[in-house]
């Protein structure tokens, strides 16, 4: 088995050899080793992508907008991912972004995971029929089948910034809270006097 460090190093060097700058290659190394840790086939997707760009110059969006596409070719997942994390403040304002025709979209996932960390919010990703959710660079939730996929091109990738909201109703929360109070000791007059540090009145 290749170690995470080997995956990082080889992906970085391969990215440089594929024509990316060293600084971008460093990001690619980190990204591929991170999605491999989540069980997604980063190395396979990257290797296939590099074969397809031997004779073309990959490009990303010049600006991050609601709808992003290139006129004459597909978007590069690496340049697109970098633009997303470099412009994360703009992304957070736009909320929902669409990318038309994007090569090897699974390679975008680690960048979106990083983006989620930078913004501090979960991000939902839809790659044509596949859904995933990136959570503050700590995990990627997705259909199990995503682990076996090599996706050459997505017609549409939609990313939606999810607001930080509770996942449960206030009624459920209150019920759970009530149960938790059963670990508390009932207060008495004596405990009010002696059980805490400060006085009952601290108007000094």
């Amino acid at each position: 088995m290749q170690s995470s460090s080997e995956i990082n190093t080889v992906s970085k060097r391969a990215a440089r050899a594929a024509g990316y700058s060293w600084g971008i290659a460093e990001e690619v190394g980190k990204c591929i080793s991170s999605i491999e840790m989540f069980g997604i086939r980063g190395v396979e997707n990257l290797n296939n992508y590099f074969k397809t760009i031997k004779d073309i110059k990959p490009e990303g969006p010049k600006q991050i907008e609601e709808n992003n596409k290139l006129n004459d070719k597909s978007l590069c997942p690496i340049y697109t991912g970098l633009k997303l994390i470099d412009d994360y403040k703009s992304v957070d304002k736009i909320k929902t972004l669409k990318f038309i025709k994007l090569d090897y979209p699974l390679l975008l996932l680690p960048f979106i995971n990083k983006l989620s960390y930078l913004i501090g919010k979960r991000i939902q990703v839809t790659i044509d029929e596949i859904n995933a959710e990136c959570n503050l660079n700590t995990c990627i939730l997705a259909d199990h089948k995503i682990k076996s996929l090599i996706i050459k091109k997505a017609n549409t990738v939609i990313i939606t910034i999810l607001e930080n909201e509770d996942n449960f109703s206030s009624k459920t929360w209150n019920e759970l809270y009530e149960i938790s109070t059963e670990t508390f000791v009932e207060e008495t007059e004596q405990s009010k006097q002696t059980g805490a540090g400060a006085g009952l009145q601290d108007n000094d």
């Binding site: 700058s21 060293w22 600084g23 980190k30 470099d86 412009d87």
Partner: protein, 551 residues
């Protein structure tokens, strides 16, 4: 009255000419390894060698919660095949640190792979990998002497300093070894290179057990064991080439933590108001003892011999002109001493005295050692929402000398760093005489900083994200600027590709933090060193004194 000493200026300390004068200290990793593991149980589990000393041995290091094992494979090697170069494919012995006690199946798996080193595969159950060659000068002499019932020549042993020389020690995910993240939360390895230091320490014990075994098999009735005092004076040699040099550029956060620990120790010591007589006496005693190491420092390198002569001269000057008149009754004694040293001695002498000043202060050093590891990932992200003007100001503050360098002249660009195809190891070559410069590694930090600073001049307080999009070739160097902004000792403040570069300065910096002694440059690109000379033996480690390096 208290005084507030400032840390030394990174723009002075981080020059290669200064870093290349660093010496071992109480912060060094092999010393902190012994302090950390001295209460663990060290044991020989398997010793299955034939009469010529070939076979398998396993040593364990355990406490109640965990066991680490060194698995050794000693193989026959023809003299013609013995080479310390990284291009070698066979060695006298190969070693691996296994996490836990290895099963029979583990040992068989390792036997198939460990002797092959870079072309074998380890698993996540292994933590460090190494190989070593015998010192031809010493090994046979020791066997002959012991088998004839006499001890070997002490002078020869002292001169060489070891029975075996390692030629590489790999860790952290190389060749399938466990990634650092798998073990980083273990308290006993909360210091850099702990596992590698463990490997070298146990290999040292194997070399003694092996010579005793061979001598006994050769002459069962007459042989004697290697004298314990002679054994203590032997360490493990190491041949180190350029592989180490890029490491300190590629791990800026880690480099900062190492240098910062040294600078913080010096600051705290200089701030001591009343120095005790005991602490001063300890300093003087260890200075006296340390002169033995300096006097036994043998090398054919003219470069190193000049430095050794400087050091000897510095020590003499310090003793005769300063130390002999000093008493500790003055407040801030160490601060005054340091100021004299900085003003009157060369860098060799200054850094030597700085290392010795740390010796009495377990209380200061023990808190700094655990901070000498670092997670590079914490500093990886570029704050692309900041502005180009902010970045330019930051560069002017962090790299004042580098932005004054002239990279339009050839001698500033003389060299380039590359990775060799056959061994995947770093190399240095002349840009104007050798091929491959188009495949240069991103290690020309000073040149790229200067270029970044120049290009930023044409931007007017714009978002950095725009700059990054238009200057993708400088993304790696923008990242470094933000690391150095937070971690001032993260960068070597020198030109790593200029014609005056001495790569062995970079090697010595790293090896001094390892705790190596007797730097013996064999060219400007590789050197030999000795580790653990004077260290306690395995059976006595729990009684060891932290000043063993001066024994």
């Amino acid at each position: 009255m208290t005084i507030n000493i400032q840390h030394r200026d990174p723009n002075q300390i981080m020059k290669l000419s200064r870093l290349g004068c660093f010496h071992q200290s109480k912060l060094s990793f092999l010393r902190s390894f012994i302090r950390e593991f001295k209460d663990w149980e060290f044991k020989n589990e398997i010793f299955d060698l034939d009469k010529e000393g070939y076979g398998t041995a396993v040593y364990s290091v355990s406490n109640k919660e965990r066991t680490y094992s060194l698995v050794c494979f000693a193989n026959k090697l023809d003299d013609a095949e013995r080479s310390d170069r990284v291009i070698a494919t066979k060695w006298d012995a190969a070693f691996v640190i296994h996490d836990g006690l290895p099963s029979k199946d583990d040992i068989e798996r390792l036997r198939e792979n460990v002797p092959k080193q870079e072309v074998g595969r380890c698993s996540f159950k292994e933590l460090a990998l190494s190989r070593a060659n015998r010192s031809v000068r010493v090994f046979n002499h020791v066997i002959d002497s012991l088998s004839n019932g006499i001890q070997p020549n002490k002078k020869l042993l002292t001169e060489v300093g070891y029975l075996y020389r390692t030629t590489a020690v790999y860790g952290s995910g190389k060749f399938g070894l466990a990634d650092r993240y798998r073990i980083k939360d273990r308290p006993e390895i909360n210091g850099p290179f702990r596992i590698e230091m463990m490997l070298v320490y146990l290999v040292r014990q194997f070399t003694f057990d092996q010579v005793n075994h061979i001598a006994h098999k050769k002459s069962p009735n007459q042989s004697v064991k290697l004298d314990l005092e002679l054994s203590r004076q032997l360490g493990i040699g190491n041949s180190t080439g350029l592989g180490m040099a890029p490491f300190i550029i590629n791990h800026p956060a880690l480099l900062h933590q190492w240098i910062y620990a040294r600078e913080e120790a010096l600051k705290q010591i200089r701030e001591i108001k009343n120095v005790s007589n005991d602490d001063f006496e300890m300093f003087k005693k260890l200075l006296e003892l340390s002169k033995k190491n300096v006097n036994n420092w043998n090398t054919n390198s003219e470069f190193q011999n000049i430095k050794i002569a400087q050091l000897k001269e510095d020590i003499q000057k310090f003793e005769e002109n300063y130390l002999c008149n000093m008493k500790v009754d003055k407040e801030y004694f160490w601060d005054e001493l340091y100021k004299w040293v900085e003003e009157n001695l060369t860098h060799e002498g200054v850094e030597y005295i700085v290392s010795l000043m740390m010796e009495p202060y377990d209380n200061i050093i023990s808190l700094l050692v655990p901070q000498m590891s670092s997670d590079e990932d914490k500093y990886f992200d570029i704050p692309a929402n900041r502005t180009t003007d902010e970045l330019k100001s930051s560069i002017e503050k962090s790299y004042p000398n580098i932005i004054e360098m002239d990279f339009s002249i050839d001698k500033s660009n003389e060299n380039f760093w590359y990775i060799s195809k056959n061994k995947e190891e770093p190399r240095l070559a002349s840009r104007f005489e050798e091929p491959g410069a188009e495949l240069e590694q991103p290690l020309a930090i000073a040149r790229d900083i200067k270029e970044l600073h120049d290009r930023l001049s044409s931007y007017n307080n714009e978002k950095l994200s725009k700059f990054l999009q238009e200057n993708t070739d400088l993304r790696h160097i923008v990242r470094r600027c933000y690391i150095v902004e937070k971690l001032p000792y993260a960068e070597i403040q020198d030109n790593s590709i200029g014609s005056e570069l001495m790569p062995i300065d970079m090697l010595r910096l790293k090896l001094s933090f390892f705790g190596a002694q007797k730097f013996d440059p064999r060219s400007d690109k590789w050197l030999r060193i000795c580790m653990y000379q004077g260290a306690p033996l395995m059976h006595e480690i729990n009684k060891s004194n932290d000043t063993w390096i001066y024994n």
